[in-house]
Symmetry: C2
Subunit: 293 residues, 2 copies
């Protein structure tokens, strides 16, 4: 276990030479599921923490940024989603945010590892509030297979809340998975996927964007700040069947949502697509933005 | 020393319960100056690293974000600075960026600790390239006293590149220091100061902004991402004598600058002022933006 002298430390091949650590109050759960190592601990300053295969997936202190941005950017870029698919996201955070959209009628969620959903509910993570939503159909299957199978389902939005491309999420970074997601989208449908970190994984990001540009009408990249993620930020790959401007919201949060959102606003949506020069130089050539800009 | 088993770890009272660590290749320097503990090491993946009183000040891998944003936001918000004062910034990074502005005629720099400038030059940090600039007048004095003394100097831009408000930089977070900076500014002058982290220090930030709003015509806040800083980001307090929109550049980088900038662009300038909702809610009431917006 990566806990020593009261501190959990994250070490990973994907970010060598750097390490983020959190002070542990109490280890609540540690088991191996059929797919990965699952650790839950209560921290001194970050609330409860979920760790999969040694990598922090969420802390209650800063999860709002990731969940809100990964969910609301594609939903408001699409405008009025009715049918949504969540791939992964077993902690329930993306589900919680999707459930805030009153126009959503159907939520499919495919999380390969049921243990992740179970610990999220059992330890009452703040992300677990919407598992009882009547619109939800939750299955525990391989998402690559599920998306292929549901190919004519006509989703308005597909959100891929995956772990990193080592371990169970590896297939979710392959072009064939993106191709199958496109088939599963309705006209005007939008996808958003966990897109790693500009400061760490620019070559991987440009590879994924280049592959997407062969498949989708528009492909773009946005990022947000998450202190407990490697290098303090994470990005998202956005894509749509038709050519459109994903950086401009097609609709905005209603009053009830505006009341509860802690990170996302229409202004934050647009600013998230503005990349630092070192990243813009690499990404400008591989994304696919509306020709209207 | 905070190096153990080949890793440097940062622990600080200002961000309890979390810790960032870098793998060390070689310790190059470790002495106590008249003011603080000064450590320089070469890291495995972040280039050379400067640490003051146990806190990372810069790594060569990500310093561009901090130096460019702290320098170019006030310079381009002002438009055409000729006379600039740098407070702190002993590593030379802000100086390097100021020196890129062809219109700048005079650069005063007041760094209390000469040892910081010396190690930056001696270990050939990538930030140390402009100490030979003919426009530079460098003094090693207490900046609070210096700014009081130079009160009628008419600086177009003052940049405060300080460490945190514990130790030698404590006075640089006091209202009296801001009052003295205002006296030292030319009409249309702009200041930018190191403004800590939205995720960690929102109460401190709002206190500083509230104090500044009593003193300046406009006060605003912007932030940037820096992986090796606590929680992966840092912000800046911007203020100007007159009421103006600091978030919109009044001029833009020329071709030579555009060639070398790695983080700053006019688009990044504007996006840096768009704050996450949790911060916007606190800051909207205390900043002072142009009434034209």
């Amino acid at each position: 276990m990566s806990i020593k002298d009261g501190w959990f430390s994250e070490t990973e091949v994907l970010w060598p030479g750097q390490k983020f650590s959190l002070e542990v109050k109490e280890v609540l759960f540690h088991e191996r599921s059929d797919f990965q190592d699952v650790l839950v601990f209560d921290s001194v300053h970050y609330g409860k923490v979920l760790v999969l295969d040694g990598v922090i997936q969420l802390t209650e202190r800063d999860e709002c940024s990731y969940q809100e941005m990964l969910t609301h950017i594609p939903c408001f870029a699409q405008g009025h989603p009715k049918k949504v698919l969540i791939v992964g996201g077993g902690d329930g955070g993306v589900l919680r945010e999707i459930a805030r959209h009153p126009g959503v009628e159907t939520i499919h969620m495919c999380e390969i590892d049921s243990m992740v959903c179970e610990v999220s509910k059992r330890f009452e993570f703040c992300t677990a509030s919407a598992f009882g939503d009547a619109r939800l159909k939750l299955v525990h299957e391989d998402a690559a297979e599920f998306v292929k199978k549901e190919g004519n389902n006509g989703y308005d939005v597909i959100i891929v809340d995956s772990s990193d491309p080592v371990g169970p999420a590896e297939t979710l970074f392959q072009p064939s998975f993106y191709q199958n997601m496109k088939q599963a989208l309705a006209p005007m449908g939008v996808i958003a996927t966990q897109g790693e970190c500009l400061w760490l994984h620019l070559p991987l990001i440009t590879t994924v964007l280049r592959a997407c540009a062969e498949i989708f009408g528009s492909v773009d990249y946005a990022f947000t700040t998450v202190p407990s993620y490697p290098s303090g930020q994470i990005g998202f790959v956005l894509a749509s069947v038709e050519e459109r401007d994903l950086s401009t919201p097609a609709s905005t949060p209603n009053a009830a949502m505006t009341e509860v959102l802690r990170y996302y606003s229409p202004e934050v949506h647009q600013a998230a697509f503005v990349l630092p020069v070192f990243a813009e130089k690499e990404i400008a050539g591989v994304r696919r933005r509306s020709s209207k800009e």
